[in-house]
Symmetry: C2
Subunit: 415 residues, 2 copies
């Protein structure tokens, strides 16, 4: 066994032991440690910035882009934002211990379904060092031990942040950072189902694909967001333009931004020019199907590829559909099942859409940008799951828990 394997396996065993201790902490104990973690980050600003400077220097030498360097960069304000985020997590209700269900059987046994921590969670992520704090802290709040494996670009920053968090009174090994950043460390982690209950990859499609193909334990995935807005024949025109503009342009580079607009053909000639003008005023490039080109003569032709592309940019694909059925069929085929919305004043059409579209979030007359743990009121978000098992859509603290059945009797036997 290589040193890398030995080290990571040992971290796994230590995480399992830490998880048992974490599961027994009260909410008050966990919250006090969380506030101490925030204080530790604030107290260590100079060390954190010094570690970050090493990463930035190495990044510049490697020729990282300005955008990449900006994602890497820590400054006093960013450290304060991390610390404030931890203080905020300390104020959230603790889902652990919540009784989900409770009933008595005819033979008198009482069955209680209670939320408990999952146990040990691996987080594999790429460049942003703040993920080290964000992910570890949400797992800690829910009584889980974490093993973090960040990207090589941020290794010094990640190490400094993990050390600060670990200095705040949490049980030993509650938060561990893997000291290796090579690909093999991902493979070792993904094979370690004895000690790791869950892996959450946070990053691009390539990273997620790698983890999925290697992992022996459950993986919660956050794939891309190919989100749709369907303008029904009974849509309000002003609202349609407003929601299209907000969904597409309010923050184009994120997973809940709009990528494809579907318009009912009976309203297309009236609606499309208004919507297109509003989008173009915000600098959006439009690409359309043949029917769209007949209405908006100056748009580029959309190809099959456009229906499957997450632009994450000021580009929008437009398709005119003959019916709501065609819109729903297009969405169920091409959507990444993240978030899809109908704009309509017809309640029956809305309810039919919400029932028929197979996506994590289905919206009626709301910007797709609201598909977000914060906007849902979860107070914290570990990601947006495009899976259907365990967690679907925005994931908050509840989604970092499991449950167990606690059964109380007075000597019941089956014989």
């Amino acid at each position: 066994m290589s040193t890398l394997q030995q080290t990571i396996h040992q971290m796994g065993q230590q995480a399992r032991a830490a998880a048992h201790r974490l599961s027994q902490l009260s909410s008050d104990e966990k919250n006090a440690i969380l506030r101490a973690m925030a204080a530790a980050l604030r107290a260590r600003v100079p060390e954190l910035l010094a570690a970050n400077a090493l990463d930035l220097e190495a990044g510049k030498a490697k020729g990282l882009s300005g955008a990449m360097l900006d994602r890497l960069k820590l400054d006093e304000a960013r450290v304060e934002a991390m610390a404030a985020g931890i203080d905020q997590v300390a104020t959230l209700p603790d889902p652990v211990g919540q009784v989900l269900d409770d009933w008595t059987r005819p033979n008198g046994i009482r069955i209680e379904q209670v939320r408990v921590p999952i146990g040990t969670i691996g987080i594999i992520y790429e460049s942003r060092p703040n993920v080290t704090a964000d992910a570890a802290v949400l797992c800690f709040k829910t009584g889980n031990a974490t093993i973090l494996r960040g990207g090589s670009e941020a290794i010094h920053s990640n190490r400094a942040i993990a050390e600060a968090l670990s200095s705040a009174g949490a049980p030993d090994h509650a938060i561990q950072l893997i000291p290796f950043t090579d690909r093999e460390s991902v493979a070792v982690l993904a094979g370690m189902d004895k000690w790791l209950d869950l892996i959450i990859p946070r990053g691009g499609k390539g990273l997620i694909e790698t983890v999925v193909s290697l992992a022996r334990m459950p993986v919660i995935k956050h794939y891309d967001g190919i989100c749709h807005l369907y303008i029904d024949k009974s849509a309000d025109l002003a609202m349609s333009a407003k929601l299209a503009v907000d969904s597409k342009t309010q923050k184009p580079g994120v997973c809940n931004a709009l990528e494809t607009l579907l318009v009912h053909e009976s309203i297309a000639a009236t609606a499309l020019p208004v919507i297109a003008a509003a989008l173009r005023a915000k600098g959006v490039e439009l690409r359309g199907c043949a029917k769209t080109q007949a209405v908006l003569t100056d748009v580029v032709a959309a190809t099959e590829e456009d229906w499957t592309t997450e632009y994450l940019d000021l580009i929008l694909a437009i398709k005119i559909v003959a019916s709501q059925e065609e819109a729903v069929a297009h969405i169920n085929d091409y959507s990444s099942h993240h978030t899809d919305c109908i704009v309509t004043t017809d309640p029956a059409a809305a309810e039919k859409f919400l029932r028929e579209v197979d996506s994590a979030c289905v919206f009626h007359n709301v910007s797709t940008r609201f598909a977000d743990g914060g906007e849902f009121g979860f107070g914290a978000e570990i990601g947006i799951s495009t899976d259907k098992l365990h967690a679907r859509g925005p994931m908050g603290l509840r989604e970092l828990t499991s449950y167990q059945y606690r059964v109380r009797g007075n000597g019941q036997t089956k014989a």
Copy 2:
């Protein structure tokens, strides 16, 4: 691409299409089809028995054991039991459509979390042909399309059962049986995450290990049951003996049967002779730690292997522990986290045990044999999950569902 791959991929695409249609059926429509499935099995008894005769003949020629042949065998009573099981599933409440949560945000958007089907489920199983009906019907009730891959021994029986079920008015391809039984078909199914949302392997450890190592989609596992009974220092002696006997002997070959007995040392000299006599009267072979051998001088020495063995037989390992802490530590180390029980008259000891043992089912003064979907009142059971994600412990209909967020607004934008 091989014919096998092409066939299974096509079944995947068809299952996805069927899942969309299934998700739109009302509970009444599904229940009517379920009753028609039961009627189809009853009407086809001669065909089912003829198909089964081919399997039995091939099994005899292959030299299958009497026990294996008995598992394979169908007769009129067993077909009737399958049909009656389906009629029973038709009477259960349908979880699909249930509103799990419902709230309004300060900006006026209303968020509803609603149970929906998972979509498409692969079931990989071994010899018993009744699994074909049991699994497919529970998936159908919850609006999921199934792809079944049974073992080669039962292929004729499985095909006849699947044909009968498919003749009862369900949407096309709602229930499909893979016509191949070689190992490659498992690999193809496990790689097909585009069309399959979940795989449930039902069978031995070898089958589950294979599926886990190949699967790109979530797998719900039902590993073994190394269940413990801990006799606390404040245990009632008669109840201890009664629960040990029931847990160990009422049906020794199943996953919720007892495998290891832990006894507090302060009660061991009094309790162990009574419990041992009761177990021996039922023919149980006892193996014990050194301290146990000091009390029960005629028991065989238990080795490290005994603590990790699921006997599924009339054998019991016994260990004397110095404290409840030692009992809990032993369980958390050696249990398969299926079901573990404390026998005590001390409520504080019981609550501490329930809180500290990290298993799907933690019991106080109840036979471990009650860890079962039927005994929990679920009405149906697809298995007992030893996973912590999505479903833990006995899995009924609810565990075959996902959820989606349905959000209703009146034009809310983020900008």
